[in-house]
Structure formats: C-alpha cells, structure tokens
C-alpha cells in the first residue's frame, strides 16, 4: 500500500522584515505509512509546524514534493481534505461562539452531518462544556476543542501539531488513550511534539527533525537500536583495577567517580567473568539502552534544553548533527 503522507525535499524560507531570512525547512523528507502512529519529533523552531503548514497548503513551499493520501499537495489537496483532520499550532477560535457552535459551523462548511458534533465533543471529553463560550475555555480545553474539530470528519488521517500543549497530566493521558483508540480503529496519526516521552509512549514510528532536516526516521525500536552502543553500567569495589582488567579484555571503558561505563558488550556475562576471575565482584550490572530522549538530544545537537528555541543557521552543533546522520545512517521502517 502506498504512503499516506509523502514529503520529499521540502524547503521553505521565510523572508520577514523583522527577522530577515529564516530557513525554516531545508530539504526535509517524511514518509508516513498507512496505519502508523507516527511521531514527528524536534525541538522548538526545528520546522515541524512549517512542514505541516506546507503539507496542508497554508504556506507555499519553496521546493520539494508532497502528497497526502495519494493526492499531490497543495494542488490536489481539496480532493482529500474531507478525509484529513488536522490541527496546526494551537488553533484559534472565535471567542464569542460556544464550543458547540464553533464545531457546527465547521461541520456545515465541510459538509459533515451536524450530528457528528456531539460525538466529537464526547470523544475529547468536552461534552458537558460544549455550550460555553470558547473565550472562557482554558488552554487545555481549547486544545481539546481543536482536536474535536479535527475528529469531526471521521478522518482517515489525523495530523496533530503539539496536541499536548496546555494539557494537564490527566489531559495528556486522555489524549494518549484517544490517539491509541483511533489508531486501533485504523486511523493513521501524525503527531508532532517536542516532548519525547509523549512520542515514545504512543508512537510506533518516528521522524526526528532538527534545523529543518530529517536526522532519523523509522520504527521507534529500530531507531533506538541504531543508537544502541551496547553499553553497560558497572559498579564494583575497585573501579580503577576493574577498568584495567576490562580494557585488557578488549572492552572500551569510561571511568566515573562511582561507576564504570563499558562499551561494545555483546554478552554481559563476559564482564562478570573477567572481573570475577580476579576476585572482583560486580555489585551492579545495568544495560544502558538508549531511550528516545538520549537519541533525540544526541541528534538535535547541544541538547541540554530541547525546549529552548534555536536559530536555524549553519553554525555550531549543526555539524555534529550532520556527522550523526552520516555516521549512524538512517534506520528506515520496512513499510516506509
């Protein structure tokens, strides 16, 4: 089956009087297959929203090819719009309308039966607040309303830009459950986020963007596997001596104040054997599997604060990102 979303070489540069030229997306690729719950991960300002806007015909791309549900975007977008539910960057609603009316007008404009409005409100847990004015809604409620507006069409493809924005922990969990139930029902979902835990919990596939470029993509477990250096944390009574023994055994070792990190470990029993033979007893032996967060931070550069917006330019950690991409290579999913 062909891809639900295909983006190839997307480029977009903003020219604004205030900020000059901003390269927002710089040759970005993205493929989302049918039935995937696809995480679109990147720090703030990495180009996620711009990519989604271009895909949905809201901004003009400067280059590249895109298609949604087989229809080239933006030229043929109108043909498939009825099957795509999308929210892009915390949508704004007219404050004087009630939530119900907001959705009813969209349903009317989009030719969706108005009976769907109640169902959609129910789905996002806004059912008993539907007759209140939107301006009285909290950020999280507005976000839910936005998701409800995307769900109105019973979409085959759901595109959510930072859906967790403004939601409290309970709301985030509800959103997660909702996403999962939609995915179970066969809806393809693309979720952008800068919150890694979010993606790791819901998504089966992930594409990581940094400074407008794809730096990794594929099945979540495969992306993680690609970054697995088979490292183990070792705690032992005499770390200095243990390090020497392990190095003599051909294993790379980093020594920290109270533990060692040993790399290239295919079989952890080798560590305990090497040390045990010399009477050093291992107190702790833990596999250091990469989680998405460490991969993400590694890929997106300086990393300590993924929430801090960054300029898109060619300097600094960019080179490191390129190295990673070249060195590790991309891990692509089978059905991509």
């Amino acid at each position: 089956m062909s891809a639900v979303i295909e983006i190839e070489g997307l480029r977009k540069t903003f020219n604004s009087v205030r900020h000059g030229r901003q390269v927002a997306v710089d040759g970005f690729d993205l493929t989302v297959g049918p039935g995937e719950v696809h995480g679109f991960l990147g720090p703030n300002g990495s180009g996620k929203t711009t990519t989604l806007r271009a895909l949905l015909g809201l901004v003009r791309a400067d280059g590249g090819r895109m298609s949604v549900l087989g229809a080239p975007s933006p030229t043929r977008l109108a043909q498939v719009a009825g099957r795509v539910g999308a929210i892009v960057e915390s949508p704004q609603f007219f404050g004087n309308f009630t939530g119900y009316r907001t959705l009813r007008l969209l349903a009317l404009a989009g030719g969706v039966p108005v009976s769907r409005v109640d169902e959609a409100l129910e789905q996002v847990g806004l059912h008993d607040r539907g007759d209140e004015r939107v301006k009285g809604y909290s950020l999280g409620m507005k976000q839910r309303l936005a998701v409800a507006s995307a769900l109105l069409k019973n979409p085959e493809l759901l595109i959510l830009d930072e859906p967790a924005n403004g939601l409290d922990p309970a709301g985030i969990r509800e959103m997660r459950d909702l996403t999962r139930s939609l995915a179970d029902a066969g809806v393809t979902v693309l979720i952008s986020s800068h919150i890694l835990a979010e993606i790791q919990l819901i998504c089966d596939h992930v594409t990581i963007i940094s400074r407008g470029r794809r730096v990794a993509s594929g099945r979540v477990d495969e992306v993680l596997a690609g970054f697995d250096r088979h490292e183990f944390l070792v705690r032992v009574a005499e770390p200095e001596r243990a390090a020497e023994l392990l190095r003599a055994g051909g294993l790379p070792v980093d020594v920290y104040s109270d533990h060692l990190v040993v790399g290239q470990v295919d079989d952890p029993t080798r560590i305990s054997r090497l040390l045990g033979e010399q009477g050093l007893w291992v107190r702790e032996l833990t596999s250091l599997r990469p989680d998405l967060e460490s991969v993400f931070l590694e890929l997106t550069g300086d990393g300590a604060h993924p929430e801090v917006p960054r300029q898109v330019d060619g300097s600094g950690p960019h080179h490191r990102v390129m190295e990673m991409d070249a060195g590790v290579g991309e891990v692509r999913g089978d059905n991509a």
Partner: protein, 336 residues
Amino acid sequence: MNLVRAELERLGARRFVQLMLVLLVLAFGVTASTTLAGSHQPTAAELTDARTQAAESRRQMDEVYQRCVAQVNGNLPPGSEQEDFPADCSEFDPVLQDRLPVATDFLPGVFVFSQQAEPLLYFLIAFLALFGFLVGASYVGADLNSGGVVNLLLWRPRRMTVLGTKLGTLMGAVLGLSLLASLVYLATFWVIGQSAGLPGQLDGAFWAGLGAVHARGLVLVLLTSVLGFALATLGRHTSAALGTVAAYAVVWELGARLVMEIVDTAHPDRFMLSSHVGAWLSGRLEFWDASACASASGFCERVYALTWQPALAVLLGLTALLAVAAFSVFRRRDLI
C-alpha cells in the same frame, strides 16, 4: 451552499454587526419618534393660511421680476425708486425657478413626506455605507487575524472559493439588510406623513426620483462594503481598512487639496473620491471653478460639473482594482 449558510451565521453572530444593527435601529427610532412628536396634521385653517402665504410669496416673486424687467428696460413707473438689480433678470423669473413656493412650505410643525423623503433616504444611505464598510472590514479582518480562515481552509483548501464565498455572503447580506431597512424606513415615514402630517405630492416623478436615489445609494453601499473587505484582506486586519481610509482622508482629501489650491491646479475636486461619491449619488455635482474666468472674455461659466457616469467608472474601477488585488494576494499568501 452550506458554506454560505455557515458564513451567514458567522456574520450574523459577530458582536460588531449586532452593535451596528442596534445603532441602526436606535437612529431609526430616534428619527422617527422625534419626527412623529414634532409633527401634526394641519387644521383646515392652517391649510388655508399656508395656501394664502404661498400664493402671496409667488406673487411677490413675480412682482420683483416685473420690477427688474421694468428697470432694465428703462420703463419704470415715475416716482419709483431705483433698485439694485443685475443686468440679467432671469434669476428672478418665476418660470425659471427650480421650484415655486407651495402651501406645504408654510406649514411649520407639519411633516411632509414628499419633501423629507429624499434627505431621510440620504441619511440612511450614509449610515448603510458606513455600516457596509465597517462590517466588510471587520468580518474578514477578524477572521484573518484570529485564525478562523485557517480553520476553514483546513476544511476547504480552496482559497478563492473561501474568500469568494465570504465576499458574496457579505454583499448579499448587506444588500438584503439595506433593502429591508430602507423599505421599513420609508414606509414608516410614509405612514407618519399619512397619519400625523402630510403625504405631499406623491406622483410618478416623485417615486421615480426617489427610486433612482435609492438604487444609486444601494450601489454605493455595496461598493463601500467591498472596499472595506478588500482593504482588510490586503492588510490582514480590520484596522488596515480603517487606517487606509483615515490616511486617505487626511493626506489626500485635506492635504493634497490644500496643495492643489496653493499651486492653482485646475478643478481639484475632480481628483477627490468624495466628489465622485457626491456626483454618483446626486447624478450631477457642480463645483466652483476658480480658474474658469481668469482669461475668458464674454460669457464664462464659473462652475464645472461632475456627472454620474465618470463618477461611477472611478468608484467601480477603484473598488474592482482593490478587490482583484486582495484576491490575488490572498491566493498566494502564507497563512500563519
């Protein structure tokens, strides 16, 4: 069709539109009730009195004319004083007057429909033109500014259709409202004339004249609506339209007029939109021509006129230009 319905509801739900409607009703109520309170049906004695006064006034006009003619021809009756008459008596000729005094001119405190209908209609048109402009601007301006258009485009990714429907809905609604308002308005004052004043002379010529003013007024109302819509679309904001009009009024209608007068430009009024609006509404507008008789010898007309045909061409051309510009800019614009 559903899109139109949704837009109509959106338009009708706007606070600003509702406020303007309340203002319209209020202005209407105040005018009608003060008219009603200040008018009474003349008694037979008042009518006779007024008729006598009108006849007297006509007789006096004729007398003045006869005196003028006599003085100019040099056959004044002996003993009569020389008066300050011009060489040409035609301005006193009763036959050449626009209108002669009639009985209704001498009925203080009596509302005469046939005399007041036209100025009342002008007032209504002025209000509706302002209404159309402000509503046209705020309707699209607020929607562009609040992301409402983006939401809609996610449902209907056809920009020209979406903006065109908005403009069409606006024009239809403004036209419908204007027709309704003017009908109710004129009918009310007609009833006041019938029951608490005088209808006056309501012949075919009167209705034809009033109908022409009405039709021209409606065209003006539509033009200002489109103008407000186009300016707000171009500037992405309601205030862009208001600012443009304010700037135009100050810079051009006041500033440029002053400059043109200082440098003695011929016929500065023809460069002013306000003159064209006046010419369109009244059919023909005459302006004082400062330069006309400077070098002329013999007969020289000291006024020049703007007629409705070129005035309509100017107003239509300008509005169409701005509308086309608005649509073509909107077609390509990045919607953030």
